[in-house]
Subunit: 308 residues, 2 copies
Amino acid sequence: MLTKNDIINYFQGLQDSICAQLEAADGEGRFQEDAWQRAEGGGGRTRVIQGRHIAKGGVNFSAVHGPMPEKVSRALGLEPGHFLATGVSIVLHPASPMVPIIHMNVRYFEVQPTGKTEEEPTWWFGGGIDLTPHYVDTADARYFHRELKSVCDAHHPDYYPRFKQWADDYFYLKHRQETRGIGGIFFDRLNGEDGFSKESRLAFVRDVGESFAPLYLHFLNRHKDVPYGERELSWQGLRRGRYVEFNLVWDKGTKFGLDTEGRTESILMSLPPVANWKYDHHPEEGSSEALSLSLLRKGIDWVNYTGS
Amino acid sequence: MLTKNDIINYFQGLQDSICAQLEAADGEGRFQEDAWQRAEGGGGRTRVIQGRHIAKGGVNFSAVHGPMPEKVSRALGLEPGHFLATGVSIVLHPASPMVPIIHMNVRYFEVQPTGKTEEEPTWWFGGGIDLTPHYVDTADARYFHRELKSVCDAHHPDYYPRFKQWADDYFYLKHRQETRGIGGIFFDRLNGEDGFSKESRLAFVRDVGESFAPLYLHFLNRHKDVPYGERELSWQGLRRGRYVEFNLVWDKGTKFGLDTEGRTESILMSLPPVANWKYDHHPEEGSSEALSLSLLRKGIDWVNYTGS
């Protein structure tokens, strides 16, 4: 029987394992840890790296619990109770514009409604992985989506198509009519409906979590030695600006965290070290920057993509 | 009798006058204009400068009208009708970290409720000016607030205290527990209540609009030749990051514009050319950066400030 502590311990171990793999791949950077506690219950371990290949990266673990704040129960449409939220959240901003930005999150939430301590708590898993290349490499995009599809397919044939579309819809800058990157998978409220057990949901989330490091190292190793210059750095700055726009304007998790007095520095570790804005910038027609922009849209079937 | 067109023409002239004064002060930069039209009615003139002293500045005029979008009537608590929104909006990011960032907005809104063409429309003015120094100079802050107070006092004794507090409350980064800068004045829904005429409200808004250029030139001339180095530029990058956080997370106008499909490039001209984020950065105790941070809080009586 799966307990809360099993899940918490699993996420904590996942953080350790990913940090070790990323340090080995970076070769120079070491994670700095800030352990923090939340007055109302629980806490976390925020880990940040500023390395050779990873310019600014955060790998956060947290497990917070206590009486559910009213804002949270209202936002989630839940009755009052005692909650637990735990998970691992990652954003890596590479030094090189030729290497993609990546984001991963896996999380578990449960709430025991007040006065109903005999009942099973309401629970669900959520998470996802998505990739934000400064320059879209279609072979990378196909590889990324095929790997995610095979992780999903091992658990349920509906997972990949549903979660791929969910990511397209979620990681979308409406005011730019651009997706943040080439998507990936996004899922939420994976609970015990339709005969799924908590064990089977966790097994899926584990596979997602464990696919993260090998996937990212594949892209890092493929692109880290590709030469670049001022032009690519300038484009990277603008794309990082878009990343900031998505996270601060549209990302529900960020807004919710800032609004409910989450730990600001852990939430905003997702922001890049530098971002640029130029008024009304348009890349030159036919350039690799313009091509990348044209591929930042919803609904591209990357698994079967045959363009170059 | 004041007509819509009088107000629109006034704002358009204010844009011209401010742009001319800023170009003269910058000495090198020239405003580039993008005239744009809105499919449903009206349009604007977005003007952007990238100069010697003003690294990135926008001085926008717009006058948009048409059937009021449902999102707008809901947000403003108004019955459906035909609306007009017009105004001038400015953000200037100076090149030097020793010169403050400034923001000014003056605007007029009216709506003629559907089927009530005989009635006077619902109308109001809004706006404000606020200053965001990278390094807080207490003499500047006192000067700024005294000038604003004298603009306000010429119209109503309540204006300055009310609008100063409104600015403190509005330009606040809740997640940082910091004000954006040293505040200024902010006001909204100045209508015909309490015996104010539309003419008297416009007279106040004109005085605010016309105080902008002399105020900013005072700060620009006072600080533009102050030497600075890497340390000041690095601090400027972090403060610009905070400016981005405020505008994208908390500023109601920005959110509303992006959400109602306003012209993205005109709205986001407020963002700096470059912004930086460092995880959990704290300035050295006793440094000028730490002193500046300590002065970014609500409720400082700058008019009577006697500290150094």
